[in-house]
């Protein structure tokens, strides 16, 4: 159902007439409020540059062990994937998802950002969703916000930035919510009533505080229900996932957050292991929290600013590189495969003689997911949401 309205939006960009599409009005809900339909999108920004090669490992290529003599001595056997790749054992808990077709990867993908390898600029470009033809900082909003802008009338509840860290991905003119799962308003009912009185005549403060009090109460109730006395304390990843799942079970369709800890310049075996385990925990917890039905309508995608060097450095780590990895999960995806052409590890196949050669634009994967889930038209995606992107041919990402 959703496809038509968004097709129309794209059609308008192409100059087609609205009158040619009689379905327009049926897609506006009775209440006058628009929605994105039932599909859920979760975007996780992995800050610090995830080592894609060490995550989905080209185990059959002897060059890998040669490039990384100090890193490739995996203590446990990695999980076999497909085409000579294996999954880092830290993610072994995700293997059932892979087998169920609910986990996939995009290897050797990157933003159009090249050569400078600054986290800061790389994340800027990743979240702005721009290419090299657009001057740095010329676009001031995030691409996920521009997606929301393309559907005027969505409620702020539609999209959630989860956590305390800024998320430029979702910043911009379209309204979106943000909340940190550990944020609580601990005030007595009497003080709550006094605050209501103080905010009564100021709609900005009144609405924001009402929402804050509701969220805070709901979270407290959930906590009471979910964690009986003596139960183990939840990790931050679990809290984040629980909160996102809670919102996505309700009126929200999009959740975005970021995780750090990927900048593994030294002692990568330990650092990457811990970051991957955290991510795995987030994904599994989210799946559990969403339940089978909603997980079935969910596409989760991780994105990182760039990959890391193919060769290990002098401190048992890797440095900033180019081609990286995106992880896809969810019941909506056509998983069990590794997307994107594999460039190989031969010296001449590397980017600048040091990095995995990017073979696809990371934005195109998000764009295809958005097209498949919400029916956004290609012209709109390539012009407004990701200006200058060429989405290429349909990778058939979703079921």
């Amino acid at each position: 159902m959703m496809n038509r309205r968004f097709f129309l939006r794209g059609a308008a960009v192409l100059g087609c007439s609205v009158a040619a599409h009689p379905m327009l009005t049926t897609l506006t809900l009775a209440a006058g409020e628009k929605t994105l339909g039932e599909n859920r999108l979760v975007v996780i920004i992995l800050r610090g540059a995830m080592d894609g090669l060490g995550t989905v490992i080209p185990v059959d290529d002897p060059l890998y062990a040669q490039y990384r003599p100090g890193l490739s001595d995996l203590r446990e056997a990695p999980g076999a994937l497909t085409g000579g790749f294996a999954l880092n054992p830290a993610l072994s808990g995700l293997m059932p998802l892979w087998q169920a077709g609910q986990l996939g990867f995009v290897h050797a993908t990157s933003t159009p950002y090249r050569d400078k390898r600054s986290h800061f600029d790389g994340q800027d470009i990743l979240e702005a969703g721009t290419g090299t033809d657009v001057a740095a900082h010329a676009v001031r909003d995030g691409w996920l916000n521009r997606m929301l802008q393309a559907v005027p009338g969505l409620s702020a509840e539609t999209a959630y930035a989860v956590g305390r860290d800024a998320l430029p991905l979702l910043e911009g003119p379209a309204p979106a919510r943000n909340w940190a799962p550990d944020l609580r308003l601990r005030i007595t009912p009497a003080t709550e009533r006094l605050l209501e009185a103080v905010y009564h005549d100021d709609p900005l403060f009144r609405d924001a505080s009402e929402e804050a009090m509701t969220l805070s109460d709901e979270l407290d109730d959930d906590l009471m229900a979910a964690a009986p006395l003596g139960a183990k304390r939840l990790s931050n990843n679990e809290k984040l996932a629980d909160f996102a799942a809670d919102r996505l079970r309700g009126a929200s369709r999009i959740a975005a957050f970021s995780q750090t800890g990927w900048d593994t310049h030294a002692n990568q075996a330990v650092g990457l292991d811990s970051a991957l385990k955290g991510l795995q925990q987030t994904i599994l917890r989210l799946r559990e929290g969403l339940g089978e039905e909603i997980w079935g309508k969910t596409t989760l995608i991780t994105m990182t600013e760039f990959g890391r060097t193919v060769r290990e450095n002098g401190t048992k780590g890797t440095d900033h590189g180019t081609g990286g990895l995106s992880i896809l999960a969810g019941g909506a995806i056509r998983g069990g495969q590794i997307f994107g052409p594999w460039p190989g590890l031969g010296e001449s196949a590397l980017y600048a003689g040091r990095d995995l050669m990017p073979t696809t634009d990371i934005r195109s994967w998000a764009a295809w997911a958005m097209a498949g889930m919400y029916g956004f038209d290609r012209a709109l995606l390539e012009s407004s949401i990701f200006p200058g992107l060429d989405m290429g041919s349909d990778p058939r990402l979703l079921l």
């Binding site: 400078k116 600054s118 986290h119 800061f120 600029d121 800027d124 001057a135 740095a136 900082h137 010329a138 001031r140 305390r164 800024a166 430029p168 910043e171 919510r177 943000n178 909340w179 940190a180 944020l183 609580r184 308003l185 601990r186 005030i187 007595t188 009497a190 003080t191 006094l194 605050l195 009185a197 103080v198 905010y199 009564h200 005549d201 100021d202 900005l204 403060f205 924001a208 505080s209 929402e211 804050a212 969220l215 805070s216 310049h265 030294a266 002692n267 002098g314 401190t315 048992k316």
Partner: protein
Amino acid sequence: MPINQTVAAFRFGFGLPLPKAAPATPEAMLAALADPDPGAALWPGITTADAVAQMQFVEAARRRGKESKEAFEMAGREIGLYGMELRDQSVKVAVARALDSPDGFRERLVAFWADHFTVVSKNQRTTAMPSAMVEDAIRPYLSGQFADLLVAVTLHPAMLLYLNQDQSLGPGSKVGKAKGRGLNENLAREVMELHTLGVGGGYSQADVREMAELMTGLTVTTADGFTFRETWVEPGAETVLGVTYDGKGTEPIIQALRALAVRPETAEHISRKLAVHFVSDDPDPDLVAAMSSAWRSSGGDLMAVYGAFLTHPSAWTLTAAKVRQPAEFLVAALRGLGVTGADVMAMDQKTLARTVVRPMQAMGQPWQQAPGPNGWPEQPEKWINPAHLATRIAWSMALPQRLADPLPDPRAMAGTVLGDRAGEAITLAVSRAESVREGVGLVLASPEFNRR
């Protein structure tokens, strides 16, 4: 001209009660701005020399870290500690000056210009650079000619690093040709789009390109900080907005910046921005016109612009159309609780983090980390959303008891910190609060306190 002291404190200062010796009329506010900077004299700030020393320290530590895994970890710790101390000093000095300086308008202008010329440190080498730019390129120039301010900021290493000018080479320069490197237009574009003319300010992509070529040679080195490399300069003259600039060294760049500073589009853009920041997102066009006219007729003399601003009736409307940004909210709250600059300077790291650094972040304004070169948003709804308001409420209810012993009587405090704004609803609510702590919390969480 007699003015409303509550409006003066909220709109043009850091809140009530006004510090001792605070000027009480627009004329006195302007006269104070013409005097030497009393805030800078109170507490020494981080200088550009300090920021360059940090770059040198970090690079030396990183070299040591290459020797072994242990050395790498040790270097990481040293770099982190060094940066943390500078960050804390930077926050403390800014807050202490805002609390104690009698010239509150100047401190607010410092924040305005720091935001207008937003810079963010991109790595651990340069965390002190934003403060250094404020200290050496903004504070000394904010009551002089805009052209001088613009030149000082544009040539500051913090700006060169943030907007990638340090990596921009003339493609036809000696080094550019030898290494096949070229232009980065980022700073040239932002100088026009954000710092001077404004979007739609009558410049073209060709002007941006020419400006970028003109600015080649400006860079930053760890040894010297600001550096000009003649071997990076694009040969030949450049034409920006119809004027041709040629010559050696930084002089042609400075000339072009000076020309941008006095353009009518610049006058309009920045006058409007001042009015938006201080008064309303939709300011009286007549106010903007008066400021812009003062800008044009004085050739960008900022005192003339501030004069037109403060003597205009629309600067003194009673409507509080804006919201205090988190940094402002925290300073005003500290002031309302009687915390002094000396108290802030004496805070240990934990206390500072709990009281100022983490709350600022949780309220949506992490210190010196604006989301982009266009700085922090101005719209009230960007600052008062459920999460950020909840954080303001939580701070208001929990932190004062750690900062003031005994807590002030909230009924008296409502009058002291809200002035004329202490209306019926807040007064009644405070009188019904279950405890002194919650009464104080209600005052600080109220719209009357958070709006300005």
